[in-house]
C-alpha cells in the first residue's frame, strides 16, 4: 500500500493530521500502543538496517536515555537532560546490571541486595513472607481460555457439545486447586476484570454470566450433541497446548476432568510455541489452550477478537450477531452505548460458548522499600520506572 493512501499527514514539524475512515473513539489509546509510535525515516535509514538493535541505533524521547546496552546482559540508563516533563525521571542513573530469565537467579540477586525488584513464583512466597517482605501483585493483563475450533466438520462446531464442556468445569478449581499461583484469578469472561466500561469497570456495568458447574445439565447437552451429530460414541478430541509445565498441567487437568464428568476421551497435543501457532493457524485442533493480552487500553482490544475478519480468531468463529456488535464497538461515539456493545459481546461469547475462560494471569513481586513510585502495568510495557524516587533509609 502506498503511504499516500494512508490518510496520515504531517502538516508541519509539530502537527499531525489523521483522516478517519469511520469514527474511532479509542484513537487516543491506539497512539499510546507501541506499534503506532512514529519512527524518524532519515534516522532509520541511516542505521543501515540495524535500527534499534543497539544503544547507538535507537531514537526515543523518554525521561531516561540508554547509555549502554550489552545485549542479553546489561543496560545503563541516565536522566535525559532534555526531557520536558519534570514530573517524571527522578533518578540520576538506572543500572540494569543483570538480564536473565531465571527467576531463582533474580531472587538470589535481590537477597544479596544487587537488584531493587523481582517477581516471585508460588514456591518462593513462603520464604518471602518469612522474611516479611512487602509482596505486591499485578494482573499482567492477559486472560487465558480454551478456544474451540469452530470450523465445519469439527465436533467442537456443535454448540451443545461446547455447552456441555462449559457446564462441566469451574475455573476456580483450576486456579485454586491445580495451578496454585497466588497471583492468578479465575477468569469470568473474555474481558479481564480490570477492563473499563463507560464509567466503571465493565464487569460492574455488565456482570459476566454465571458459570456454575452443573454436571447433570452438561450431560443433557452432551446427549443432545450426540443425537445432532448422529454419533453412537464420541471420538477422542484433541487439546492443543504449549510445552510449558503450566500448559501441560492445565491440559492434563481438563483431560481428567472431562473423563470423570462427561466420560470424554481427550488427547493432549503438546507442541513448541511456533508449531502450536502453525497448528492453530491451519486449524489442526479441537480445543487449544490460548491466551490474549491487551495491545491498547480499551475494551476493544479483547472485544474484536471473535469478529469473523480478525486474523487472530484462529478457531474461525463466525456469527453475524457478533460481527454487528463489534462494528458498534468500533465506531459508536456514545460511551454508554459502546459499553452496551461490549456487554453484548460478553454475553454472546458465553451463550454461544466461543471460548471457556480459564484464568487471568498475575505476577507476585517484591520491591525494595527504598524504592518509591515503582509501577507495573497491565497494558503496554510492564515495568515503569518513570515515577521512581529513592526514599531515605529508615533506622529500625
Amino acid at each position: 500500500m502506498p503511504a499516500s493512501s494512508l490518510g496520515v499527514f504531517a502538516v508541519s514539524d509539530r502537527e499531525l493530521r489523521v483522516k478517519f475512515e469511520r469514527p474511532t473513539p479509542y484513537f487516543e489509546k491506539l497512539v499510546a500502543f507501541v506499534t503506532y509510535f512514529p519512527a524518524r525515516e532519515d534516522f532509520v535509514n541511516s542505521t543501515d538496517g540495524r535500527y534499534a538493535s543497539s544503544a547507538e541505533t535507537m531514537l526515543y524521547n523518554g525521561p531516561y536515555t540508554v547509555d549502554e546496552w550489552v545485549l542479553g546482559a546489561s543496560m545503563k540508563w541516565s536522566k535525559n537532560p532534555h526531557y520536558w516533563n519534570e514530573k517524571k525521571g527522578f533518578l540520576d542513573e538506572i543500572n540494569v546490571a543483570y538480564i536473565t530469565t531465571d527467576v531463582n537467579a533474580k531472587l538470589n540477586l535481590f537477597k544479596d541486595g544487587q537488584i531493587t525488584d523481582t517477581a516471585l513464583s508460588a514456591s518462593m512466597l513462603p520464604e518471602a513472607m518469612e522474611r516479611r517482605w512487602q509482596i505486591d501483585r499485578l494482573m499482567d493483563g492477559t486472560v487465558f481460555f480454551m478456544e474451540f475450533n469452530h470450523r465445519d466438520g469439527r465436533l467442537t462446531n456443535n454448540r451443545n457439545f461446547r455447552k456441555a464442556l462449559q457446564l462441566a468445569q469451574d475455573p476456580a478449581e483450576l486456579v485454586y486447586k491445580v495451578l496454585k499461583e497466588a497471583a492468578y484469578v479465575p477468569a469470568k469472561s473474555l474481558f479481564p476484570g480490570w477492563v473499563r466500561g463507560a464509567q466503571d469497570f465493565l464487569h460492574n456495568e455488565y456482570p459476566p454470566q454465571s458459570s456454575d458447574i452443573d454436571i447433570a445439565l452438561a450431560r443433557e447437552h452432551l446427549e443432545l450433541a450426540r443425537e445432532e451429530l448422529g454419533l453412537s460414541e464420541f471420538p477422542a478430541i484433541v487439546i492443543l497446548t504449549g510445552d510449558s509445565s503450566m500448559g501441560l498441567l492445565t491440559a492434563e487437568y481438563y483431560q481428567e476432568l472431562y473423563k470423570r464428568n462427561l466420560g470424554l476421551e481427550i488427547r493432549i497435543d503438546a507442541q513448541i510455541f511456533k508449531q502450536r501457532l502453525a497448528k492453530m493457524t491451519s486449524g489442526d485442533f479441537d480445543i487449544v489452550m490460548a491466551g490474549w493480552g491487551p495491545d491498547y487500553d480499551d475494551a476493544l482490544t479483547f472485544g474484536d477478537l471473535f469478529s469473523s475478519w480478525n486474523l487472530n480468531n484462529r478457531g474461525r468463529y463466525s456469527s453475524d450477531e457478533m460481527d454487528a456488535q463489534v462494528r458498534i464497538a468500533q465506531a459508536e461515539l456514545d460511551p454508554v452505548k459502546r459499553a452496551a456493545a461490549f456487554g453484548e459481546i460478553q454475553r454472546l461469547v458465553h451463550d454461544d460458548v466461543v471460548i471457556i475462560p480459564m484464568y487471568e494471569r498475575g505476577v507476585s513481586f517484591v520491591v525494595d522499600p527504598q524504592l518509591v513510585g515503582f509501577r507495573r502495568r497491565s497494558v503496554g510495557p510492564e515495568v515503569d520506572y518513570n515515577y521512581v524516587r529513592l526514599a531515605p533509609l529508615q533506622e529500625p
Binding site: G49, Y51, Y98, T101, D102, Q114, I272
Partner: protein
C-alpha cells in the same frame, strides 16, 4: 615440513566436515515442524510476503541453499529472525568471547583438577583418599549442572549474607570474581570424568615395567611421578580434552542462564526453541567449525607430547 602437510590435510578434511554439518543442519531445520515467521499476532498475507522476501524464504529450497552456501563462504550468516535487525555475525562476535573465556577457565579447572585428583587416587589406591575423592567424582558426574549451578549460587548468597559483604558477585560478568564460581560449576562434570580417566590410566602406568626399572635404579619418587608416570598417563586425558573444550564451551547454557552471563550458549538453545533459522545455522556451523578445529589442535598437541605418534 611433514607437520605442515599433516595440518593442511586435516584442515581440508575439516572444511569438508563443516560443509557437511552446514548442509545437514540446513535441510534438517527446514523439515522441523513449525513456521519461524508465526507470532502471537497474526499477519496479513501482504505483510507475510514482505517478511518472506526479507529473509529469502519466498524462493525454492534449492535456491535458498545455494544462496546460503555462497553467503557462508563469505562468512555472512545473515540477520536473526527473532532479534530484529541483529546480524548473526554480531551475535557470535559479541557473545562467543564470553563463552570462550568461561569455557577456557572451566577446562583449566577441569584439567588441572582432574589430572591431580586422578593421580592422587591412583597413588593412594584403595585407601581413604581414594575412596573420598571417588565419592565426590561420582557425585560430580551424576548431579546435573543446573542443580550444581543453583546450589553454587545459593552458597554465594548465604556466604555474602553471613559475611555482610559481597565477596563473590551472585551473578553477572566482568571481573575475575564474576568468573570464578561459574567456571568451576561448568568444569565440575568434566573434572570428575577426567579424574576417573586419569586414575585408570595412572594405575596401568604404576605397575608398568619402566616404572619398576626406574624404582630399581633408585630414582626419587617425585621424579618418577613427574617424568615417567604423569607424562605417560596424561595422554588419554589430552585426547578427550579437545572435544571436552568444545563440549564445555557449547554446553554452558544452564550456567549462563543461572549466573546471568551474556554467553552464546543461550542463543544456541533459544534459537532452536524459536525456530530462528539464521541463528540456528550460524551457531551450529560456528560451533561445528570450532569443534573440528579443537580436534585438529589436540592431534597436533598429542604429537608434541608423545614422540611415538608424531607423523612423518
Amino acid at each position: 615440513m611433514a607437520i605442515a602437510a599433516f595440518i593442511a590435510k586435516r584442515l581440508i578434511q575439516g572444511v569438508f566436515t563443516v560443509w557437511f554439518i552446514a548442509t545437514a543442519t540446513f535441510f534438517a531445520m527446514h523439515n522441523v515442524p513449525g513456521d519461524p515467521l508465526l507470532n502471537e499476532r497474526a499477519m496479513t498475507d501482504a505483510i507475510r510476503a514482505n517478511v518472506e522476501a526479507k529473509y529469502g524464504l519466498d524462493k525454492p529450497l534449492g535456491t535458498q541453499y545455494a544462496i546460503y552456501l555462497s553467503n557462508l563462504a563469505r562468512g555472512d550468516f545473515g540477520i536473526s529472525f527473532t532479534q530484529e535487525n541483529r546480524q548473526v555475525n554480531d551475535i557470535i562476535r559479541e557473545h562467543f568471547p564470553v563463552s570462550a573465556i568461561l569455557g577456557v577457565l572451566a577446562v583449566l579447572f577441569a584439567a588441572v583438577g582432574g589430572i591431580l585428583w586422578g593421580a592422587l587416587t591412583a597413588l593412594y589406591r584403595n585407601r581413604i583418599p581414594d575412596y573420598l575423592i571417588m565419592f565426590f567424582v561420582i557425585l560430580g558426574i551424576s548431579v546435573p549442572s543446573f542443580v550444581i549451578a543453583a546450589l553454587g549460587q545459593l552458597a554465594i548468597v548465604n556466604m555474602n549474607g553471613a559475611l555482610g559483604i559481597t565477596l563473590f558477585p551472585v551473578a553477572g560478568w566482568g571481573t575475575l570474581a564474576h568468573m570464578l564460581v561459574p567456571s568451576m560449576v561448568l568444569g565440575l562434570g568434566t573434572m570428575a570424568y577426567l579424574t576417573r580417566l586419569m586414575r585408570s590410566s595412572m594405575l596401568e602406568i604404576v605397575s608398568s615395567d619402566y616404572v619398576r626399572t626406574a624404582k630399581a635404579k633408585g630414582m626419587p619418587p617425585a621424579r618418577i611421578f613427574a617424568k615417567h608416570q604423569l607424562r605417560n598417563a596424561i595422554l588419554p586425558v589430552i585426547t578427550v580434552l579437545g572435544p571436552a573444550i568444545a563440549a564445555i564451551t557449547t554446553g554452558g547454557f544452564v550456567v549462563e542462564l543461572v549466573f546471568a552471563i551474556p554467553g552464546l550458549g543461550r542463543y544456541f538453545v533459544q534459537a532452536v526453541q524459536q525456530l530462528d533459522y539464521t541463528v540456528i545455522m550460524g551457531t551450529t556451523v560456528f560451533y561445528g567449525a570450532f569443534l573440528v578445529f579443537m580436534v585438529i589442535f589436540v592431534d597436533v598437541l598429542y604429537g608434541l607430547i608423545d614422540p611415538r605418534v608424531r607423523v612423518g
